[in-house]
Point group: C2
Chain length 476, copies 2
């Protein structure tokens, strides 16, 4: 591809994306009518022996790939969690790809590192996070990770390093370690315990209350029991907005226990933490002032295109202690002087993209006001949905809905029949292609999750989705 | 930003990138004259209270950010390893950002998953990899990871799962595990052992020969010693092209030992494996037919913009066993039927971008011929450099140079004086701003690494770099 061809195809592709995002629902099902293998069957099994034109590729993209995608940007997308993209963030990703730098260390791209640090500090202000997470604080700082799963894992590794005085790096002795969360915590906690060689059996599931929130008294008891069994409690993860039901653990009370017991407190606000951009919802940050680490995802609700996870810690020394390794081929004067941040020591991978551009472009040219307005709308519409389903005696609202997720279920004579009816309703709604809902289990009750978070979703789309569910729900 | 503004700014940005890549060396130092903090000092400490125009952002990009970057695309970039970008891969990244799908599972984006599987199979053919890595084989398959560090880590986790019959996930018992590589292996091996809770002490450094390659006899002895001490050897990593000197471990001989001892053999060809695209260099794959897993990086030499790491295994059941976790909110009919691949179970993170587009765009519109030609050139020029420095008695070539990396040093009366002179030469050359070299240590000898891998580098640039070093080197 010549530079001129790149210009031409690049312009076309920008226009293609503008058209796509301008009308993401147009003529597309949210989830395609497709079976495993259908897409591959339409593509050549072997690499081409002759070069093809870019236009041919775009034609296949339009006829095979896009129709085979789950449409996360569709106005009828109420599944999993939002994965919004905004125009400036797309341009930031494009620029990052064009510059082609590796931001693994300060020396490998100074301005990529420094802009990233600054963006984390800007976001600390915009989210109203504790000052001790700021890079200019004595012990804290932030970093862009790929995903919240990675953020959780590095938090766990930092916690482990601190409780073992760093010995873990050398001896790998995980035999006494034990950590805590509820059954509602994200699967990445348990997966992290497996990866870290601690094991699922050492993740204690603290009982939750009827709001699906951690019971601090039970946590304190479990820690005491583990200590008397000779184990070494080291890590607690509370969630601010669980994936299943958007439950909020009582971090202030948990923080008190963690402080007393000297455990690392990590707060996972991957899905909902961005709500703090809106001042009236800043309660989502309650308790963070005593957390050791915190994570939230601009790549979900905020519209900074995936991947852009933000992770802050108030104890960067433990994080770097756990993850730093300096072979001779990566040494530099800056690294040795300790004057600069080398973000490779804050994460699992070595290499890293220049992801700060996405945030910088978006915060300067669009700011947070459009996001605040969208968040207010989504939260208000979700409350309206709760009223609608609350007034329909076929339905039951299964969990608190403080923000933009509503978990509803059909009633039934038994749990089994209610679950079967709810599952059937989800399937029937999704089969229309107009909407996509996903399912969860809340204390064995099957729940239809309505996640109101797509950027393209309007009030009319939300009311339409409710009407569709009411129409499809069987009479009692 | 309105759709129309997105079109306009998007076109401008495509043109900006075309100009940038068309003349990456123009007026720019490879490494900026900059100190830690310089970039941040020129940017506002707090987020803007008023919105700014996109043109203002681009102006700051040009005046502050780009001049503060290490220029990985510069023709004088001979540092670390290549990180090339090609036009179609940039467009693939752009399209991925615009589509905004999350490819964590088949159900979350069917065509993203299926195109990825196909691209791994295409690359298996183009690299001449064993058929048992193909997704259509009985037990194998491939996946795009972010980085080789992650690929190495998941290989280690799969190996650990297999040797413990899966018990590790539950009990986290790492007490007897031990793995093997040389001191020349990438730092991600040791970092992976730390993350996995096994510890640095359980990474045995197998002695290397004068070519910096693993000594299989020593490996066999170490395994026997560890077994008689009651330990559980489980993992060997050989490297095809070490980062320090591009050494190749003798994988065929190591594979024989691994097969006999039932150890997982992972081959790390992050930097050099792409050479196999060129038929005359296919020897870089020697021994892969008996490896359990393999990784190489199209985001280095091949020009698929970062991140795009390819990881294959011949034992996907162990990989998935180690990494699969299925909470209710991620269940789907496809996942339960086992009919589709859910790539979240092949990696550390949960979420993932639609990275296959980059490969698809590049392989269809440019193919591998331009890459093959570039590889042949880079290898030939590196051999010419070896001749030039071999004929200059001030210099010494410190390691074999089968491909595109040459490690040279200045001679000296003592190791200390030679090292000091070599380090000074690196600093002096880099200070010109015309080139960037990085340093490594090879058995305590300081070495100047000349990595001939940037896409923009011409024969003239290579000869110019050699002449610069000869001019700056002190007379004997």
């Amino acid at each position: 591809m010549t530079p001129d061809e790149f210009r031409r195809h690049g312009h076309d592709m920008v226009d293609w994306i503008a058209d796509f995002l301008d009308d993401t629902g147009s003529g597309r099902r949210v989830f395609p009518e497709i079976q495993p293998g259908d897409v591959r069957a339409r593509l050549p099994e072997h690499p081409p022996s002759e070069l093809e034109s870019f236009d041919d590729v775009v034609a296949d993209l339009e006829s095979i790939i896009v129709p085979g995608l789950t449409q996360w940007q569709h106005p009828g997308f109420f599944a999993w969690f939002p994965s919004n993209v905004s125009y400036p963030s797309i341009l930031g990703e494009l620029m990052s790809a064009g510059l082609g730098v590796n931001a693994m260390a300060w020396a490998t791209s100074p301005s990529a590192t420094e802009l990233e640090t600054l963006m984390l500090d800007w976001m600390q202000e915009l989210l109203g996070l504790p000052a001790r997470f700021r890079s200019t604080s004595e012990h804290g700082g932030g970093v862009i990770q790929g995903t919240a799963s990675e953020a959780t894992l590095v938090a766990m590794l930092a916690a482990r390093w601190r409780v073992t005085g760093g010995d873990i790096n050398a001896d790998g002795d995980t035999t006494r370690l034990v950590g805590y969360c509820t059954s509602q915590a994200h699967s990445s906690i348990e997966k992290g315990f497996r990866i870290a060689g601690i094991g699922s059996e050492r993740v204690r599931l603290v009982p939750h209350d009827e709001r699906f929130a951690m019971q601090p008294g039970a946590l304190a008891e479990m820690i005491a029991t583990d200590r008397s069994a000779g184990l070494l409690p080291f890590f607690v993860c509370t969630t601010h907005g669980t994936t299943s039901s958007m439950a909020f653990d009582p971090t202030p009370a948990v923080a008190e226990i963690c402080e007393r017991e000297r455990l690392w407190l990590h707060v996972d606000a991957a899905m909902s933490g961005i709500a703090a951009l809106e001042l009236s919802l800043r309660w989502v940050n309650d308790g963070l002032d005593r957390a050791d680490s915190y994570t939230t995802n601009p790549h979900k609700w905020m519209g900074i295109n995936f991947d852009c996870n933000l992770f802050w810690t108030a104890d960067r020394a433990s994080l770097i202690g756990a993850l730093s390794i300096l072979p001779p081929y990566l040494q530099s004067a800056a690294a040795e002087a300790g004057a600069a941040i080398d973000y490779r020591d804050w994460q699992i991978p070595l290499g890293r993209r220049f992801r700060a551009l996405k945030l910088w472009f978006a915060l300067r040219t669009e700011g947070v006001e459009p996001v605040q307005a969208m968040i207010r709308d989504h939260v208000a519409w979700t409350q309206q949905l709760a009223d609608i389903f609350g007034a329909d005696d076929r339905f039951e609202v299964l969990a608190p809905h403080p923000l933009n997720l509503l978990c509803v279920a059909l009633r039934g004579d038994t749990v089994e029949s209610a679950n079967a009816a709810t599952d059937a309703l989800i399937d029937a709604a999704n089969a229309t292609g107009e909407v996509l809902f996903t399912r969860t289990l809340l204390d064995n009750r099957s729940a239809l999750r309505i996640s109101v978070g797509a950027r393209a979703t309007t009030h009319r789309d939300v009311l339409g989705a409710a009407a569709l569910l009411q129409r499809l729900a069987p009479a009692r």
